[in-house]
Structure formats: structure tokens, C-alpha cells
């Protein structure tokens, strides 16, 4: 067997590397090796969005990404994103509208909101619903989340 190659990437702004198999799932590696447990596992099959992260700014379900595919990319999880000014705006909006119930979908939902707002800084309600439609939430019925994203877009004018 070939010597395992080191996979290099940037995680939450810091250089990181992985020496395990290139076939390992990003989700497992983030949770186990890097202790990014804000990345949640709801299905492991790309269906729920709880494991969503940003890879080079794009929203991806980390359970469906093999480590081999992250070489050279920049990955942001909730652990990195929570340090940003944009997060602070979303945080306030979600708090005002009590858009967090059980919280299990929330980190993924926040990153989905970030991906949406960076593509559409002034989204319509339809665009918000479309942008969040890959992230399942069983608790809220989505209204509070959609309204929170709408309000974050207004409050965070100029940030996205």
C-alpha cells in the first residue's frame, strides 16, 4: 500500500492536514479529529443539511464529501463562522425571533443563511426559502428562521 498522503486544507482560517484515508468522510474527520462538534450528523446521506459547512464559500453537506476532495480548499464550520461580524447579525436576528428550538439543525441553517446572503444580499422570501430548502428543521415550521434571515439581511446592510 502506498504511504498515505497528507491532505492539506484550511479549516476556519488555520492550516490543517489529515493523514487518514482520502475516502474518509469530512463530517467524521471534522467531528473526531478537529472536534468541530457543531457540525451535526442527522442522516449521513446528504438529506438533512445538519452537517453543512462552507467549502470555498459554497454550502456543502460534509457527510457527502470525501477527504480527498478537500485538498487545497478552505473550509468554514460554525466554530469559525461564529467569530465573524456576519454571524453576530444572524445571531441577533435568530435570538429576536426565537428561531432556535432544539438547535440541532441550527449550525447548518446558519451556514446555509450565510451562503444564501453572500449570493443574494437582498433576498426575497422565495429566495430565502429556496436557499434554506436543503436544511431540514422539524421543530419550527421555518417561519421564524425565514423571518430571521430576512431581518438579518436588513440589519446587516453592507456586510454581505
Amino acid at each position: 500500500m502506498d504511504r498515505l498522503q497528507e491532505i492539506r486544507f484550511v479549516l476556519n482560517g488555520k492550516e490543517a492536514s489529515y493523514t487518514g484515508s482520502a475516502a474518509d468522510r469530512l463530517l467524521d474527520v471534522l467531528r473526531e479529529q478537529f472536534r468541530c462538534t457543531g457540525v451535526k450528523c442527522g442522516c449521513r446521506e446528504g438529506e438533512c443539511g445538519a452537517c453543512a459547512v462552507l467549502i470555498d464559500g459554497l454550502l456543502r453537506n460534509s457527510c457527502c464529501v470525501a477527504m480527498g476532495a478537500v485538498e487545497g480548499t478552505s473550509i468554514v464550520t460554525i466554530e469559525g463562522y461564529r467569530e465573524t461580524a456576519r454571524f453576530a447579525v444572524l445571531d441577533r436576528a435568530f435570538a429576536q425571533l426565537s428561531a432556535v428550538q432544539c438547535g440541532f439543525c441550527t449550525p447548518g441553517m446558519i451556514l446555509a443563511a450565510e451562503a444564501l446572503l453572500s449570493a443574494h444580499p437582498h433576498p426575497t422570501e422565495e429566495e430565502i426559502r429556496e436557499g434554506l430548502s436543503g436544511n431540514l428543521c422539524r421543530c419550527t415550521g421555518y417561519n421564524a428562521i425565514v423571518n430571521a434571515v430576512k431581518s438579518a439581511a436588513e440589519e446587516g446592510e453592507g456586510l454581505w
Binding site: L90, D91, A95, S98, S133, A144
Partner: protein, 707 residues
């Protein structure tokens, strides 16, 4: 509105949104064994032998032989084993557990286990089932005479399917042997004391031999009422046998296939009608309990008590049975037996009205209960029944009456519309005298020297907001800022048993205990001293004693009320239905936080829409559930129902804190009937009788029209 209703930032908001909250899967895995269940592949069989592959050092297989105490997970009866006995009774039943440090290897070893079975004939079809776990009947009046004297008689059968709770965090529990010999069990759960009590039986120890803690829980909806007791016992047996911490988190398919869900039902209703009044109902309710009895007794009780709906029917006969089949045991899910019977009675009212040529809403109004009327079990509606006012509120919000007339005209295009309405209640708290005789809730307040106050109660935050609403109540009574009062996840080593987190009871029952405790603490308050006060449940004085033998008395002290209207548009080419609007008005008494209550109402309403439309789960003749992932079992996404409008109509309940009643379950209960009534109208008024009503059902119904 009362100032207590003003929304605050939820206490658990910060840790959850930032990803800092620790759910059971998030504890580090160093030193923890990963447990994976070996499930039965047959619906009914004798297990002759389990051939376990040779296990590497540090890997273990445990099963019923490792149970130190009694191989029974006590829920209501003692039929559910921790690990199977001689036979397996459904596909997915746990035979044993493989444990070891490396998850992938554990899974491989589990898959290499070979189970030798002697296959037995299973019963998987509810209609063929004969063994009843529970059978109840009750009634009043002279039903036979009412039928003899009726102008018209109706006889209809209604069916509902499974519903999966689909909490986004799968089930997971962890057990850790502690140094003093105590077993510490924690995980995703609703009812720490249920687990605690089950563990003492299974481990054969006293109450001090175990300690149960609720981790941050990623949604439950009833699905984490009974199953965590089972999984908790399984990991505890494994931890006891290996001497190491063991964690088992189910994967999604396993969770969907093997854990409890809403009971499928077949309800047969016969009705006698005279003029525009229903004079008698003769009702037969059958629930598919699955292979073990678990919570079916109490689910069935609630279902049959609600069977006559919100109507004052002078003569009633109800029979209800929970039948055994060799399928996954069904348990609790938001509404707890009532969504099935409310669906049936509301569709029946719809159909009778149509047959009589009456407006379906006017016909319902003519039969409504009023304050002071007798309930189905000869209790009393002690408090106002605000349904007429709520109907008007809904009508104003969505022009129900106008649209109903408009859509009644013949529709022949590709897209056809309909609107439907339903009325329902949810009885808050345990059924009957359960609160007084079984639960006997106790709650405490502990004041520290610095003047902060901790709430000690066994109710768990599951997303419904108790970590915020309980402190709001206590802070208000004590006149303290909210950040001086806190409520952690319950740990049975620290909190008294204030009952389980079920039945929409936490806020109404335990919230009121805490309010009373706060009043006492305020009176006894001494600066700089550590103090504790304790309150015990008292049944409201007006409540008529309930007899479970005769189903007589006040089944609930009070009721929360709902009016739900659904407007939809059907694409007759594809069969897809689009919900144009879901409008609901809820009376849950005073909201102890407007955002929290609205979030509960919206979430429940959307689950109800899923239940009525796309959430289809079935098993094949062999008893296997195939819709076991989010790609086969669809739940609504953010795109599906943009127009979801909830309103609150407040009738204060004097025995609840500041007038609050139970809220959590109500919003789901009335949805299926409103949805199907709308569907029926869109499809031209044919008698539909089952949910979920999927796109295939639409196509099927239209094909009949052409054929």
C-alpha cells in the same frame, strides 16, 4: 396581553446557535465504546443461536444473558425486553449489541454476526390481527334507540398511517459506570425518571444505583418518551458487562425502522342523525400497537376519549382496541392518539353535512359543545368553549366561507382548489387522574447565597422552551431579573420527580407548581442564606374524579382549542397538491412567551401538513419498513408551505400559571381533517377517508372519475 407573554431571548439560544451545545454524540470518544445493535431481520421467529465472529481484544458482544436484573423495560406493562427473549417479534428488534472502540470495525463485526432463526408465522396486517393488548369501551345514553329513531344513518371507515417523529437528532444514549458503582446514563430523552425507573429493574439495583441526565436533545415530539428507556437499558447493560462507558447513537435508517412512531389506525364510525343534529355515534377504534405494548394503553385512552370530537352527542358508544402485530412498536407522537380519532370524526361531519346538503361548518356549529356541557366521559366542560369566536377569527383571516363557496363550483381545469376546516381540542395533562395518582409531581426552587435561584424539576428542554419559560415564571414571582433564575437539564441525582416531559403538561402543571414555590420562597426569603422550597401537585378542586374502569369523570381539567383551515391547489396532471395557506387559531390560554408559543404552533402545524400529505411510511407483507430515509420518507422543507399563519385566542385557565394551558400537541391534531376536506373539495366532493393523501392517491382518485 399579560407582560409575561413578551418574548425574551431564549436561555439556550447562545450555546445552540454557536454550535457549543453538547448533544450525546458530541462527547469525545476516547475511552468510550461504540455500541451497535444487532437487529432481527425477521418479523417473528425463534432465535436458535447467534454466531458471533471471533472478537478482537477490547470488543464485546452482549445480549439478554448479560442483563443483571430483570430483562424487562418497564413502560406500562412488562412485555418489552432489553434484548430479545427466545423469540423476536418484529423486524428491528434488538437481539444483542456489539461494542468496541472503533465504530467501523464494530459495524463490520455486527454485520458478520449470523443469527439462526426458526421462522414463525407473523401477523403484519392490522386487519388480520386478533390479539388485543388493550381493549376499552365506554358510552352513555341509549345508542340503539337513537339509531332506531334516526332520520338517516351513516357508516364510514377511516384510516391513518404511520407517522415518524423525524427529530433531526437521531436517538442516542450513553452509559458510564461510576467509581462508586453507580451507573450514569445520559442522552437524548424526554423523561429522565422513566429511564431511571426502568434501569433499576434491569440492573437490579436500588434508586441510588443509577443516575440519569438529559443531554441537550435535538427534537423529540414524543419519539423520545419511551424509546430512550429501552436504549438506555441496552447501553447500561453493555457498560455493566464490559465495565466501560458505552454509547449508542442510531443511524437514521435504523432510527426510522426500529423506533416507535404514531399508531396507524382504522376507525369505524356509525352515526344517527335527526334533523341537523347527530343524535348518536357508535365508534370502533383500532390502533396498530406493533409487537410490544409500550405506551399503547395511554395513547388509546386519549384517542377514544376524543373520538366524539368537539360535539355534544347525547348517545355515544365507543370501543377501542390496541392490537398486536409483528411490526415496530408504536408509541407517543404529538397528539397521542387524538389526531387519528379527530381525523375520523371531522371527516364524518364533513360527509354527513354534504349528504344533508348543509354547509359543513354550519352543521358542525349546530352540534358544538358549550361550556357546562358534559364531555364524552360524563365530565364537564368547566371553562368557556371559544370555538364560535375562533371560527369567525379564522374566517376573517382567510375568507374561509367565501372561498368555500367559490371552490364548490364545478372545476375542470388542470389546477383545482379547495379549502377545508376542522375543529379540535387537546386535553392538557395526563389523562384521567394520572397527575394525582401516578405522577404526583414535585418541584423545587433552590436559592443560593448570592440570591440566584435554581429550578429543580425533571422536565427536559426538547426545543419547546421550558428552560426559558420556567425561569420566566419564577423570576416574575420573585421580582428578579431573568438572568438570576436558571434551569439546567435534569439529572435524577439532583432533581425531584416532577413527572415526564409529555402530554403538554410541563408548563401548565409544573409551571404552576413553580409559581406557587416562588410565592413561598418570596415570603420566606432571607438575604445571604441558602434556602429551598418544595411544592407538590394538587388536583384542582373542581375536577370530577375520573374512573378508568368506567371511563367516567373529567378526563382532563381543561382543554386547549383549535380551528384549522387549509387551502390547497391540486395539479391534476401530476397529482401534486400545493398548500396555498394554512391558517390556524389556537386557544392555549396565556402564552408564557409569544415567540415560544408561536414557534410551537407553527412547527406542529407543519408536522400536521406532512402527516396529511407526503409523510408516507408503510411496511411490506413481511413486516419490513422500506421508507427508512429522508429520501423515501419526506418531511416538509422551507419551500413547501410558505403561507403558514397562526393566531392565538386567549381564554385564561385559572389553575395554570398566569392563565396558561397545555400547548405543544394541539397544533397537529386538527390538520389531517382540514387538509383532506380541502382535497375533497378540490377533487369535486368525493368521499375521501384516509391520510396521508399523496400525489398517487390524487391520481388514483382522478382515474376513478374517468374510469
Amino acid at each position: 396581553m399579560d407582560t409575561i407573554s413578551q418574548s425574551v431571548v431564549k436561555k439556550d439560544h447562545g450555546p445552540k446557535i454557536s454550535g457549543r451545545s453538547i448533544y450525546v454524540a458530541d462527547y469525545p470518544s476516547e475511552g468510550v465504546l461504540c455500541g451497535r445493535l444487532l437487529h432481527s431481520r425477521l418479523a417473528r421467529a425463534r432465535v436458535l443461536r447467534v454466531v458471533v465472529p471471533e472478537l478482537p481484544e477490547g470488543y464485546y458482544y452482549v445480549d439478554a444473558r448479560d442483563v443483571p436484573g430483570d430483562n424487562n423495560v418497564n413502560i406500562v406493562l412488562d412485555d418489552m425486553p432489553v434484548f430479545c427473549r427466545d423469540t423476536v417479534e418484529y423486524i428491528g428488534e434488538a437481539i444483542g449489541m456489539l461494542c468496541g472502540p472503533d465504530e467501523k470495525l464494530v459495524e463490520r463485526l455486527r454485520d458478520e454476526c449470523r443469527v439462526e432463526y426458526e421462522e414463525l408465522e407473523p401477523v403484519t396486517d392490522l386487519r388480520a390481527a386478533t390479539e388485543a393488548f388493550f381493549s376499552y369501551s365506554y358510552g352513555h345514553g341509549d345508542v340503539d334507540r337513537a339509531f332506531a329513531e334516526a332520520d338517516r344513518v351513516y357508516d364510514e371507515e377511516f384510516e391513518t398511517g404511520y407517522q415518524e417523529q423525524a427529530y433531526i437528532e437521531p436517538q442516542g444514549m450513553m452509559a458510564e459506570p461510576e467509581e462508586d458503582g453507580r451507573m450514569y446514563v445520559h442522552g437524548s430523552a424526554q423523561c429522565v425518571y422513566y429511564i431511571h425507573n426502568a434501569l433499576t429493574r434491569v440492573l437490579g439495583c436500588g434508586p441510588d444505583g443509577v443516575r440519569v441526565y438529559q443531554d441537550v436533545t435535538g427534537g423529540a415530539f414524543g419519539g423520545k418518551e419511551d424509546f430512550p428507556s429501552i436504549l438506555g437499558c441496552q447501553v447500561a447493560v453493555a457498560a455493566h458487562s464490559t465495565g466501560k462507558p458505552v454509547r449508542c447513537v442510531l443511524d437514521r435508517r435504523e432510527d426510522m425502522e426500529c423506533t416507535s412512531k404514531r399508531h396507524p389506525s382504522i376507525c369505524r364510525y356509525r352515526a344517527a342523525v335527526k334533523g341537523n343534529r347527530v343524535t348518536a355515534l357508535d365508534i370502533d377504534v383500532v390502533f396498530d400497537a406493533g409487537a410490544y405494548s409500550t405506551l399503547s394503553a395511554v395513547v388509546l385512552q386519549r384517542g377514544i376519549i376524543a373520538a366524539p370530537g368537539v360535539y355534544n352527542i347525547p348517545n355515544v358508544r365507543v370501543r377501542g382496541r390496541a392490537l398486536k402485530t409483528n411490526t415496530v412498536p408504536c408509541g407517543a407522537y404529538r397528539g397521542f392518539g387524538a389526531p387519528q380519532t379527530f381525523f375520523a370524526v371531522e371527516m364524518l361531519m364533513e360527509h354527513i353535512a354534504r349528504d344533508l346538503g348543509l354547509d359543513a361548518l354550519a352543521f358542525r356549529e349546530a352540534n358544538l359543545v358549550r361550556q357546562g356541557d358534559r364531555t364524552s366521559t360524563n365530565g364537564v366542560y368547566h371553562f368557556p368553549v371559544p370555538l364560535p369566536a375562533m371560527i369567525d377569527e379564522i374566517d376573517r383571516a382567510c375568507s374561509y366561507r367565501k372561498k368555500r363557496l367559490e371552490y364548490a363550483a364545478e372545476q375542470s381545469g388542470r389546477w383545482r382548489r379547495g379549502i377545508g376546516i376542522s375543529l379540535d381540542y387537546h386535553g392538557a395533562g395526563f389523562t384521567g387522574s394520572g397527575e394525582r395518582d401516578i405522577i404526583k409531581a414535585v418541584a423545587k426552587l433552590h436559592k443560593y447565597r448570592d440570591g440566584t435561584v435554581e429550578i429543580l424539576a425533571s422536565n427536559g428542554e426538547i426545543g419547546q422552551g421550558v428552560r426559558t419559560t420556567f425561569p420566566k415564571i419564577v423570576a416574575r414571582e420573585l421580582g428578579l431579573p431573568l438572568d438570576r433564575v436558571f434551569f439546567c437539564h435534569p439529572d435524577t441525582a439532583r432533581v425531584p420527580d416532577s413527572g415526564p416531559t409529555v402530554a403538554s403538561r410541563s408548563l401548565m402543571v409544573v409551571g404552576e407548581l413553580l409559581r406557587r414555590a416562588a410565592i413561598r420562597l418570596k415570603a420566606e426569603w432571607v438575604n445571604g442564606e441558602e434556602q429551598e422550597v418544595e411544592e407538590h401537585y394538587r388536583e384542582p378542586e373542581f375536577q370530577l374524579p375520573f374512573s378508568l374502569d368506567r371511563f367516567e369523570g373529567d378526563a382532563y381539567p381543561t382543554y386547549a382549542w383549535a380551528v384549522t383551515a387549509i387551502e390547497l391547489e391540486v395539479d391534476t396532471w401530476t397529482g401534486n397538491a400545493k398548500v396555498l395557506g394554512a391558517y390556524a387559531d389556537f386557544d392555549v390560554g396565556t402564552p408564557i412567551d409569544l415567540n415560544v408559543v408561536t414557534g410551537q404552533m407553527e412547527g406542529g402545524l407543519l408536522q400536521g401538513i406532512g402527516y396529511s400529505s407526503v409523510e408516507k411510511m408503510d411496511h411490506d407483507a413481511a413486516g419490513r419498513i422500506r421508507s427508512n430515509s429522508f429520501s423515501d420518507y419526506l418531511i416538509p422543507t422551507a419551500k413547501d408551505v410558505p403561507n403558514l399563519k397562526c393566531m392565538l385566542h386567549v381564554e385564561e385557565y385559572p389553575e395554570g400559571p398566569y392563565g396558561a394551558k397545555g400547548a405543544g400537541e394541539l397544533p397537529l391534531v386538527g390538520v389531517p381533517a382540514a387538509y383532506l376536506a380541502a382535497m375533497e373539495q378540490a377533487l369535486g366532493g368525493r368521499g375521501l377517508r384516509h391520510v396521508p393523501f399523496t400525489a398517487e392517491d390524487v391520481i388514483g382518485a382522478l382515474a376513478k372519475e374517468e374510469g
